[in-house]
Chain length 357, copies 2
């Protein structure tokens, strides 16, 4: 039966890069028998501009009815003066919540062809392959109460709540341990259990869940130390699992270690395998519309989609192989180009991947 | 009039490294006319072991009566099973709160003599000189309510509160702007204003305070992007200012960029210039008692103390110069040693600094 994919280009470079991923999906459908139906929708600033809200009801309905969502990126300085409730980011956060996408998988991989793009010394990062598992529908991102109140003194006070239940912690830890079983069997759970009670509970639950995975080596690290260790010796990590907020920070840090942030995909999954897939980079409004953005992170997000939500691992491998091929051919968008490389634009890169499928 | 300094060696390598800083203070007192009186106290695990609490009342009383506190480091795996309320870290957090030390200054400097110790490519970090200004007595570290509760379902739920009032935000921003005025006149305020209302207020107050400093260039950055940018191009920053939790993470990341975490001091100040001074590194229980720890971060913390709390800038310069001298002499503790360097132990390094004063 044909699988339904919702395409949400979003803002900034979103439409351009998603366009290349759609070319890849079309090719897989037309030439390789992938049974998919693609629908378009609005989210983020684009949705706000059209409907006055970053997550229109029709988008939520379309997302619910889909097997997977492919998203470009949302946001931009243009919408920054808006209140949090209607900013482009709210569209993304709303989708995560509506679909229950609690498990965010963010691989940080150094592509051997791009080793020179990292700001770290080659010996520190060569062969880097970390998977960050970030909790995505809880924590301080969604905790209540939240807001800004005025005190009797007349001064204002802003507040947010970090909150996790045992079951929320348990299910994300299971995703981390299950992932580790297919990798190097090591999980590092990151918390601030020496200061925050909420993450003291996190550590306790991590230990308990760990007992169900005797083959996996579990370690715990404070978040400040984890940020340090990512810079000092990132290859010590296999799977890292952490809260929504810490995962936001650490996954961006880890991604940047690879130097190829334009290359890194992500998957956000719910309990029934439905998923949203997006590049980890942002909407980069400064280069939007110029045709220079790197579409590979979005194309690789499509590959994750094939694997995790469309049950099409062979097609995923086809896409991964095509991306390797274009890198071997020396094709580079500006973000990953070094002297002597052949520089290409967004569309040329997408076309090259399609040709290599 | 003689200034009072409270010496709190703490745990792990704390006593060893503080011992070398005390040698420096004794030398300044005996040979260079610095008028100081030193008293010893217990904090952290050492205090817990002796008195059952990481911050005994007599330590608080001694700290209040002092012009400055010199602290080694607290904590260690030995005390990790303890509840948050009596862990060694609570001694440190309690002192920060009791003395109202809201402004934490953490320079991240690359010492030219130690450029090869960084894991980053030399061109990315050479000349690095960032000052991180971290709010230290508010935010999620101290917010109420906090704890772990049992829900009707029988499942537990952990929670902490991120909270800032306008005046708390304003005073730390002023410290950042005042610091920037003595540096390169650029402040980057780090928040997560696209998700957390509390930090939306932070950004608003930052903009308002910025109007009082027309000469200073103010920028805003989301914390995930800040973590990325620290790895991508750290030299873009002059002063970074942020919340307690974000500052904890980013300052450790920034410190590690320099590769010389054993070299970096910190100051925690209150509104009346009273301060606590400590190395940014931890208690390193694995090397405690071996006489190999680097005492320079603690000695440089003493220099910050001379400058900020003892009104003795000339003495501070003397200490800084002595540290430069021993580095020029090629003396290196294990953490900063490369092939061909002359390796020394903790005491030998301290003695060399004293000799160079
Ligand atoms: C855009 C923003 C709301 C989002 C987040 O903070 O989760 C982004 O940074 C990410 O990591 O996907
Ligand atoms: C020991 C710990 C409580 C402390 C903190 O989190 O503030 C430390 O990491 C620091 O940065 O000084």
């Amino acid at each position: 039966m044909s699988k339904k994919i919702l395409i949400l280009p979003g803002d900034g470079i979103g439409p351009e890069i998603v366009n290349e991923a759609v070319k890849v999906l079309h090719c897989l459908r037309d030439d390789f028998g992938l049974e998919v139906e693609l629908t378009d929708g609005l989210v983020g600033g684009a949705a706000y501009d059209a409907h006055g809200h970053p997550l229109p009801e029709q988008t939520v309905a379309l997302a619910r009815a889909s097997d997977a969502v492919l998203l470009g990126a949302v946001g931009g300085a243009k919408w920054e003066p808006l209140p949090i409730a209607v900013r482009p980011e709210k569209g993304l956060l709303g989708l995560r919540a509506e679909l229950g996408l609690f498990a965010n998988l963010r691989p940080a991989i150094l592509y051997p062809q791009l080793a020179s793009a990292s700001t770290l010394r080659p010996e520190v990062v060569s062969g880097l392959d970390i998977l960050i598992v970030r909790e995505l529908t809880g924590g301080i991102y969604f905790g209540q109460p939240r807001g800004v109140e005025t005190l009797d003194s007349g001064e204002r006070r802003g507040f947010n709540t970090l909150v996790y239940t045992e079951s929320e912690i348990e299910r994300i830890l299971r995703v981390a341990f299950d992932s580790a079983m297919r990798r190097d069997k090591r999980v590092c759970s990151v918390d601030k259990a020496n200061v925050l009670e909420c993450t003291e509970l996190w550590r306790e639950v991590a230990m308990r869940v760990g007992q169900d995975y005797p083959e996996v080596e579990l370690s715990h690290m404070y978040v400040d130390n984890a940020a340090m260790q990512l810079v000092r010796a990132p290859k010590q990590f296999d799977v890292m699992v952490t809260t929504n907020m810490f995962g936001d920070i650490l996954s961006d840090c880890a991604a940047m270690l690879t130097g190829s942030i334009g290359m890194l995909p992500s998957a956000s999954l719910n309990a029934s395998g439905q998923g949203m897939y997006e590049p980890i980079h942002g909407s980069a409004p400064d280069i939007a519309g110029k045709g220079v953005a790197n579409p590979l992170a979005t194309i690789l997000s499509t590959s994750m989609m094939l694997r995790y939500s469309l049950n099409a691992a062979e097609q995923a491998e086809r896409v991964d192989a095509a991306v390797s091929t274009v890198l071997e051919q020396g094709l580079r968008t500006a973000d990953i180009a070094a002297d002597g490389d052949r520089r290409v634009g967004t569309a040329e890169m997408g076309d090259a991947v399609v040709a290599a499928l």
